[in-house]
Symmetry: C2
Subunit: 208 residues, 2 copies
């Protein structure tokens, strides 16, 4: 769930500090998508942002610090999971958002994933953002249980969400397949069928 | 399906050319797992392999050439998909192989995925290897259809295989989760339940 990374809504009304942060993070996003992690430098970011290099060094310290803050800014966005009225619809909409973020040319989401292979700090920040987003999405499963779509109270929401979204990441990021417009819906429906058949049930002893 | 990359069975009996290739590719694997893609250099490989630099440059040209040949060597291995007698058992065994290759510390498979974000050549070679491996695994689905496990002749084998294996890659490579010993079996069983419920059916008009 990387789509919020593409927005720039960390520009809250605020003083000079907030404005400088917005300029610098915009520059990081632009540099990352243009040149990738290997081309990301403190100097390049300062120049593009029109901010003193000393300010960038003092506040973000190094490239890892810039990456962490770009990811943190994505987490500050007021993102809401889809609410279409059915689990299949919700997962399809979620997968469509994910697919859009991954097929963008260039894709900031993919650039950040690439960067996280080279920066422990960025990897930790990205893992945390994903953990938060999957936790937010658990409501999709809770709503489906309330609607009686899953026929059980004992569904492991996170496993279900990973199963639904993983094929998108695998196909687009690792297998580098051409985008398949049917995949968001197909992956969602396969997961709903599996869930209805009890695939993500938590065993009794685990749920107590 | 990256597990064969960890072996060194490209050492076929052969002359000096084959021996030098084996030495150089062993050195590439060792350097990659030790220092990652960023630390991989022609000089480092030549030194570790005990082969003249000029030979390495002449035959592999650049780091991209070395990566492509390491991936090609993995494709030359006589890898066979599991054959346990059931689709669920086969997919579980396959996922266990994948999980092992991804949790290895250091993991050559993960190092190659990281490298493929920085080398177009490596990315193409890796995509080709994965395409071949998934094609090899289609026999798992064909056998399941013959055994009557799926109740239909019209199952899209590749989609099923992607659904079964994607959660492993997503959890281990992108989400950097701790290895979950239950995941290989859980992901396999969820996919079998989805398949039995018709999730990967090819629509009539598409299969004609």
């Amino acid at each position: 769930m990387t789509e919020p990374l593409d927005t720039t809504s960390d520009r809250r009304p605020g003083g000079r500090t907030a404005r400088i942060r917005a300029q610098v993070l915009d520059a990081v996003r632009a540099e990352l998508t243009a040149h990738g992690h290997e081309g990301l430098t403190m100097e390049g970011v300062a120049t593009r942002a029109g901010v003193h290099r000393a300010t960038v060094y003092r506040r973000w310290r190094d490239v890892g610090g810039l990456l962490v803050d770009v990811i943190a800014a994505a987490g500050e966005i007021d993102w809401q999971p889809p609410d279409t009225g059915s689990l299949s619809g919700d997962l399809t909409a979620l997968n469509q958002e994910i697919q859009e973020s991954l097929v963008a040319q260039p894709s900031l989401a993919v650039a950040l994933m690439a960067a996280s292979f080279h920066s422990e700090q960025a990897a930790r920040a990205q893992t945390q953002l994903w953990t938060d987003r999957y936790a937010q999405c658990e409501i999709l499963v809770e709503r489906a249980i309330e609607r009686g779509e899953l026929g059980t109270q004992h569904t492991d929401a996170r496993s279900l969400l990973i199963a639904a979204t993983a094929p998108l990441y695998h196909q687009m990021v690792l297998l580098r397949a051409d985008p398949d417009p049917q995949l968001p819906e197909r992956a969602a429906q396969a997961t709903v069928l599996a869930a209805a058949a009890g695939a993500f049930c938590i065993r009794r002893e685990e749920s107590v």
